[in-house]
């Protein structure tokens, strides 16, 4: 068998000849790349152009796809609980609907720190992955990293205010008897929604970088 024969044989067996996967949508892929990385690019683009060096990001997202693989089954289960919890949340939103938008300034505007309490309730279901649409109705919305957990008191360093607030830290009293549905661990990122100084059920969620990107995009800040 000579080179040409071998090449022909290899080419005939090319797995990409009959692709089962659809061709990638280039524009969508470009868009996804740029949006998932806007924070990085805005921080380093000027430096990269003036000095000719390129910063290497430390953060990688490798492995999230595989996590999804395992998470698929879990997500199916969560959807069920999330549906119930979502219904409860919608009721809460309607019930206290007199106060919206900037009305919460008295709590949110304190630069030193914002104090919130978690809503009491007996829900046992898990919360579904937060979406911008579901949390849009809350006047206070931020993404933060947990810096300390002391008993029922959780302190957040605010990474990003999505809506209505400017405090750098937020203290959340999660209520000692509510550990069941609000569990916080240090160093993790959460998206927290609040209304009238109260975090509703499913209003504080541990989130992945993709979800954060999704929120930042949705709230366009």
């Amino acid at each position: 068998m000579n080179d040409d024969e071998l090449l022909a044989r290899l080419k005939a067996a090319d797995p990409a000849l009959t692709p089962e996967a659809p061709l990638p949508d280039i524009d969508r892929l470009v868009e996804a790349t740029l949006t998932s990385d806007t924070a990085f690019s805005s921080a380093t683009t000027p430096a990269g152009n003036t000095t000719g060096t390129t910063a290497r990001p430390a953060r990688t997202t490798a492995g999230r796809g595989r996590r999804q693989l395992l998470g698929l089954a879990a997500a199916g289960l969560l959807l069920l609980g999330g549906g119930i919890a979502g219904g409860i949340m919608a009721n809460n939103g309607n019930g206290g609907g007199s106060d919206n938008g900037s009305g919460n300034g008295h709590a949110a505007k304190s630069a030193a720190g914002l104090t919130l309490t978690a809503e009491a309730g007996g829900a046992t279901g898990k919360c579904a992955e937060p979406t911008p649409d579901r949390l849009r109705k809350y006047p206070v919305l931020f993404e933060g990293t947990v810096t300390s957990v002391k008993g029922s008191e959780v302190t957040f360093r605010v990474d990003y205010w999505l809506k209505g607030g400017d405090a750098e830290t937020v203290v959340l009293d999660s209520g000692s008897d509510e550990v069941e549905h609000l569990t916080f661990s240090e160093g993790e990122q959460y998206i927290v929604a609040a209304k009238d100084g109260v975090v509703p059920m499913c209003g504080a969620n541990g989130v992945s970088p993709e979800t954060i990107a999704q929120f930042r995009k949705a709230f366009g800040k």
């Binding site: 068998m1 000579n2 080179d3 024969e5 071998l6 090449l7 044989r9 290899l10 080419k11 005939a12 067996a13 090319d14 797995p15 990409a16 009959t18 692709p19 089962e20 996967a21 061709l23 990638p24 280039i26 892929l29 470009v30 996804a32 790349t33 740029l34 998932s36 990385d37 990085f40 690019s41 805005s42 683009t45 000027p46 990269g48 152009n49 000719g52 390129t54 290497r56 990001p57 990688t60 997202t61 490798a62 492995g63 999230r64 796809g65 595989r66 999804q68 693989l69």
Partner: protein
């Protein structure tokens, strides 16, 4: 040039690069991993390419100011692809390393699942078996040569070896592959003759 213009130019360069490399990269990954992982690793690869857009050879530097300094022409695939394959290769091995055995098991299951019905006009199981018998780097070099259609110099860019080392490795791997396939073919021919005789 304002910061905003610079960023826009950078985006434009990235978009032109994407239009040239996405489909070849997609095929590259399709040849080496399962279809459902391809999308993730491709997205990861694009993220790296965007972050390192200034390092991609053959895309223009973009740091030259002035009108029309950034050529609006698409980058030459021969210039950019080997480097981009190298990035995809890195992302692929990162993904494999990260998930280690579990992922390999998944891939193996998929492969055996796909191989079970020997469908299609031609059965390539002999060839795949022969490829699997090569070392990982030998196999990659042969695949880059046959499927991605790269020259030894370009394979060197992808793998970080010298062109010389690639040429030698490629030569030996092809010889081993051909020998193994030749043996299989001979076995099968002999087998067929036997069958023919016994049925008469």
């Amino acid at each position: 040039m304002t910061e905003q213009e610079a960023r826009r130019a950078q985006r434009a360069r990235f978009e032109r690069l994407a239009h040239v490399v996405v489909e070849p990269l997609h095929r590259y990954l399709l040849r080496r991993t399962s279809a459902d992982l391809v999308e993730d690793i491709l997205a990861e690869t694009m993220l790296v390419l965007w972050r390192r857009i200034d390092d991609v050879p053959g895309v223009g530097t973009g740091s030259v100011p002035g009108p029309a300094s950034d050529p609006a022409s698409d980058p030459d695939p021969d210039d950019v692809l080997p480097w981009c394959y190298g990035v995809a290769r890195g992302c692929l091995s990162n993904a494999r390393r990260a998930d280690g055995r579990r992922l390999r098991l998944v891939e193996r299951l998929i492969r055996t699942h796909e191989q079970q019905p020997p469908t299609g006009p031609a059965d390539h199981s002999d060839l795949h078996a022969a490829l699997d018998s090569l070392g990982a780097l030998d196999r990659e070099v042969v695949q880059l040569w046959a499927w991605e259609g790269l020259a030894p110099r370009q394979i060197a860019d992808v793998t970080g070896m010298t062109s010389n080392a690639v040429s030698i490795r490629l030569h030996r791997a092809k010889k081993r592959l051909a020998a193994q396939l030749g043996r299989k073919d001979a076995e099968r021919a002999g087998h067929k003759r036997d069958e023919g005789r016994s049925s008469q």
